[in-house]
Symmetry: C2
Subunit: 284 residues, 2 copies
């Protein structure tokens, strides 16, 4: 017996598509409805087994949903979540996948505090993805073994938080509970900073020597291939935390540079060994 | 019919082991001899089909070789190459796999200029590897489709260069010919810098938030798991070029930082798009 009669996905890209596939493959939802702007993309998602049906109208799409997951880009996440919460039936759980939480969650709560919604909202961020975007790259196992951060605030009911956690766990994920600000400070380091680092490394490689890259360069720059507009939104919505993470990183880079300049090989090897120890501890 | 009667590999780790496997699998060498310090490791390499036989004595190992490939760590590469060239028979081609070439090639040529060798030397660097080391990770296809840089100098005969190029091409590699200094300047950017960047990113990630890393962090830091002592040798032997590459990278990072500080989202998105363009052009 499915856990949910109806789940609505607002925005059917890589993440929305993968949630749909996972819900269907695991038999968790009797019906998965997709809401989007492009009818032909939604039609394809139905053919791909991601959705049962779809609507280009948000109110229609979420009208009977038990759970709504908003999977739009960060820039429009807050208004879309608030609108979905206002159109969803009483008791519906509304959550999202936005990569930054402080700005988004605060904006949603400010709108919903004015009334007009009987649904309940709690923010989420699945630490899963790909440098490619779009529903065509969806995978039913995208969340299996991954961490999803759920970000309740003082105004979130425990019941809503527990429901959101159960939803992600049913897709195979492990859940961590953090405040929106704790989330943003951590992700600035573990996700946003790597993208800056990778992008600067890619742009600092002259075209004339690009045939001489090997595995290390390919790995270290891979995330720079992700969508530039989406990442610009992530950086803009987490600016101060990203700058703090970047400054911390530059200090670590400066210590390495000092060891090179000073020809302090013992110190250099110790720093590299510390990097190796940390990387080995995290695993692949 | 095999191309070579006998190839000697001095140092049987990941690279030496993969050369041995490739030579055997492609039927290129009638006999592959391994030279190393640890008899039990060499015995295992024979069991794994990497070597036909082995010796812990360099002079014995190379005595009848047509080609000798020195695959030791960078720190001892020059003296080992020179010793191999002195012990090898007349006409033998001696090459190596050291990751930096300027210091190594100059040191070898200085020793050999004093005489005592009838073999011929040309430096090589296969842009292939793994963040893991040791013969157990050897792969016969490690060089297939990869670039090998061959680094002749003014004192290298064209015939030796062509023979070295043919050797690597027979393992499936594509060859580029560069001077040792051109090689080191390029690799400082395409290989050594990524390691510094990855290592600093790993060490700047606090232990408390390591459960919150996702694909981007994992890719961007992967190369930091490589052997610290080997990489220290690489950095020490290419110090000035690595520092130049690092300074160039820091400028690119500073431009990104400026766009964040100035809240110049158009500029930020343009920089990220440029990183994506370059990364997409190189491929995976």
């Amino acid at each position: 017996m499915p856990s949910y009669q109806q789940v609505a996905l607002v925005g059917v890209g890589l993440l929305g598509g993968s949630i749909g596939l996972a819900l269907k493959e695991r038999g968790l939802a009797a019906e998965v409805i997709g809401v989007g702007r492009h009818r032909e993309k939604l039609d394809r998602a139905v053919e791909q087994g991601i959705l049962d049906r779809h609507s280009t109208d948000l109110a229609t799409g979420v009208a009977e949903a038990e759970v709504v997951v908003v999977c739009t880009p960060v820039d429009v996440a807050a208004e879309t979540i608030a609108l979905a919460a206002q159109q969803a039936p009483a008791g519906c759980l509304v959550t999202d996948v936005a990569s930054t939480k402080g700005t988004v969650v605060a904006a949603v709560e400010a709108i919903l505090a004015k009334g007009g919604s009987n649904a309940t909202f709690v923010g989420s961020h699945p630490l899963a993805g790909d440098h490619r975007s779009g529903a065509d790259f969806s995978r039913a196992d995208l969340f299996a073994g991954r961490t999803v951060v759920v970000t309740p605030t003082d105004s979130t009911s425990t019941e809503a938080t527990v429901r959101a956690e159960a939803f992600w766990e049913s897709l195979g994920a492990t859940v961590e509970r953090l405040s929106p600000d704790q989330h943003d400070a951590a992700l600035a380091i573990t996700s946003h900073l790597p993208h800056l680092v990778a992008s600067a490394l890619a742009t600092s490689t002259p075209e004339t020597i690009r045939s001489l890259v090997a595995t290390g360069w390919l790995d270290t720059t891979r995330v720079a291939a992700a969508d530039a507009a989406l990442w610009r939104q992530i950086f803009s919505s987490n600016r101060s935390q990203v700058l703090a993470a970047l400054d911390r990183y530059r200090e670590h880079l400066e210590v390495l540079r000092r060891a090179l300049v000073d020809e302090d090989d013992a110190q250099l090897e110790q720093l590299l060994a510390e990097g190796k120890r940390i990387r080995d501890a995290v695993g692949n």
